[in-house]
Symmetry: D3
Subunit: 191 residues, 6 copies
């Protein structure tokens, strides 16, 4: 039934999964919406955390572990069943042609990949993996870069993330981390 819903030929392969690909710096309302869209059409949602090895920069302020905490807090707050969620981490690889193989190696078998990034979708499609864009996603407002910018500049970033995520970020001093990472971006170490 689910297989039929997504228009894939998935007869009798058991659990049907989609993978959502992102960096989740931080996990925001748009990400939450995409996960819920997947959970309506698939048995399980794999949440693939890209650039997982990085942290403490303006682009990637939070560690993979911190991002997993945010994802679980947000989904719990929303009443989702965490048993249907699988978080995986995918370290960046300089060799883009190899990235799809790494993604596949890190994930349980999946049937389709969700991403709104044309470049990610190109890489996946070139390797024969079906892709989708998340439809319910308001990219203008719900944009992690914009949220981090608000954090760095003292703006109202909390309205774009689930409350539990905002509290978690506050608890680990995340705003200060983003602010320092941003201002130090152009001045490495002790020049």
């Amino acid at each position: 039934m689910l297989a039929r819903w997504v228009g894939l030929d998935l007869t009798s392969k058991g659990v049907v999964r989609a993978v959502l690909i992102g960096r989740f710096q931080p996990f925001h309302m748009g990400h939450l919406s995409a996960v819920k869209e997947i959970l309506q059409g698939f048995d399980e949602a794999i949440i693939a955390i890209g650039s997982s090895q990085f942290s403490h920069t303006f682009d990637n302020p939070f560690t993979a572990g911190e991002r997993i905490e945010m994802i679980r807090l947000a989904l719990k707050e929303d009443g989702q069943d965490l048993a249907r969620i699988i978080t995986v981490t995918v370290p960046d690889i300089g060799e883009h042609r190899l990235w799809v193989a790494r993604l596949v190696a890190m994930c349980p078998r999946f049937d389709v990949a969700y991403s709104n990034n044309p470049f990610v979708r190109l890489l996946l499609e070139e390797q024969g993996i079906a892709t989708r864009g998340a439809e319910l996603y308001n990219r203008e407002m719900l944009n992690a870069t914009r949220i981090r910018m608000l954090m760095a500049e003292g703006g109202d970033w909390k309205r774009y993330v689930p409350k539990s995520v905002a509290d978690y970020i506050d608890g680990l001093g995340g705003v200060e981390r983003v602010r320092i990472a941003k201002s130090s971006a152009t001045s490495a170490l002790f020049r």
Copy 2:
């Protein structure tokens, strides 16, 4: 209450977690027993898959994604609540002194680490992380190296892993992979 149970000073820190560190090549009855031990004493169990970047060797035949599938199948078969399980992956790092920092970066906050490997415990203790050995673990029989050896030599390996794991390995041709990886270990490529 849980905090009290494990003898840790964890007053009011929210969710209490232990991390189980292994490679899970494959996930066997002993691993299952250790996870269950943790779930009795903690809110959530983090299962940290070490050497996560490797696969297709005799020591590490299965990809991280395949190992995650095994873990979830085994716990589901056993009736555990997957919502209380968090699988994470920890790529090996040549620089052992940095491995603990990488483990911490990949995991949600945890309170204690379970391992029966003295070397892993030494690394963790040197960095101030509390460790435990899994008590219910029959290491003589339930040893992943021994299980892989049985797979390579046509022995009865299935009695040491949950049925769902055995079926999964059969389904992906895992025995053949282990057999070939073992016999090719000493002859790389096309000499």
Copy 3:
């Protein structure tokens, strides 16, 4: 005789070779001209493909294998003898001081290195390797960055590359790849 032609002291060392260093993203008329210049003065031309591990970015859209195909197509179209051409790949190394050693390790023995990049020539000269600039090279017009920009913006890029290269790029969807890579450069993954 050839040795004499290039003014090098190469008495009786057998085959005389020069290496042309570039990234060839894509291989264009200027590159072709440089190879022909080398083939007039040397027995064999080594074409060293730098940044060989990268692909699918705006700076490096094509894989090493695709670049090798382009080079061979262009030289064949021009009537050159492919038996006198040796393509090698040189992955970038962050440690520039080691790059010359890597270049030498990847190449058959050579007598001189051709590059029009002052930085590459500095690295080579510091290690005692004789360098030359390719003389017949119209850098204003025949510039790979400019060609990729034309590809991304729908301009007439084909006039700057051999016809066989243009056809090859069309056949693998190269223009679309460059266009997407360029537009995604500032927005990684799923922000």
Copy 4:
């Protein structure tokens, strides 16, 4: 016609190629035989030099550049047309699941892969690439490990490699390098 010969469905794809995968430490009579087998059935032979980043060890004594020289000398000595040969280098990657993607990225498009190593063939077949074993290959005698052992121990290694290869190895002091690398294998640096 060639396409028909090899039993592949290759209608009108242009040049038909097979890739021979090896380390070529050193390139011996068996390798030469395999290349000739390929050249009888395909337009071009790609010779993929694995473990290309390594040298100066007993397992991998020669650099990629030195191996390219051997390959070209041997084929020239045998009267083959070097224009139909493409040497590529494939650095080892710890993550075996990604190795096939790297091989493909380094090579011009090919139609089938030749290897006599079951592990290499398993990796390739799992990714949907057709493989073959080289039929004319006398593995008992023509084995690079055995040849290196003879070099280290003063045996008659020259009968197993083309004369031009033997001369080349002599010229660069290759026997001494193999001998030292072997004896130092168990004693790193300055203990």
Copy 5:
């Protein structure tokens, strides 16, 4: 006494050390001032050379070895006792969360870390390491980036570095290297 001076609780731990963290591209008057400040309060100064693997770029023109030479020349010129100085090198690591572990692994035990970079101090403080800013440091004028810019543009850079450092840079052609690295920054290799 020294321990008391710096306000640390260092009773009877033997030698008291502070580490100064920088890249020293090049080592200038401000760096010298910071080292002297440390030597007044501690038994020994560790000078940790960050980004140690890089050289031959505008940001990092000099090798680690060249930077060590500069540091020793400057301190000798200033009459400092080199026996109280320990230079160490700390290669950058993409995973910032692991950088502190690497720093600690590369250094003899130390009691406090000096840096004027807020980002470095944040990383250190998060891992429980006490940090200080160097007080005597005129960051406006004594800034390595500014000095390199002067070198590239033919300005009077020598007034900001010790005379022995200026002579050393002249001797190895450092100004030319900086100039070429800067102008080639936006044009890699042979486009």
Copy 6:
């Protein structure tokens, strides 16, 4: 005068240095003897710590920082002037052909390299660097592997290292670390 002593043509190049290459796991009487030999013939001794990134294994139990502490303690105990000693670290590189370039990049300029390892000397000589063996070195008894074995097995290892080194190793629990690393060598993580 010193230049004359070592038979090198070093007229007026300033400070004359030799580099001693080792891993120093741990620094023992033989190493001390070699350093003293160098200090008799040269102005300064560079002590290049190889495999510097590794620690916590049986082959490389101690971090680079710990090894630097040992070296300084031993030389101080022996009455040597630490101002004439420069410790540098050289991380291993899989690509041996590049190792000499890395060594040179990490060191202040030097005139000759000391090593008793034939493989290291071969690498250096191939790149045109003069090498020497340390003459005063009793390799039978003063062998770091043997010393570590004694540590693991409860033997009398202290007689082969300076007293200050033995005390330092005791203070950081080094014997326990070596013992655990050795016994865990064949059983990685949590099988």
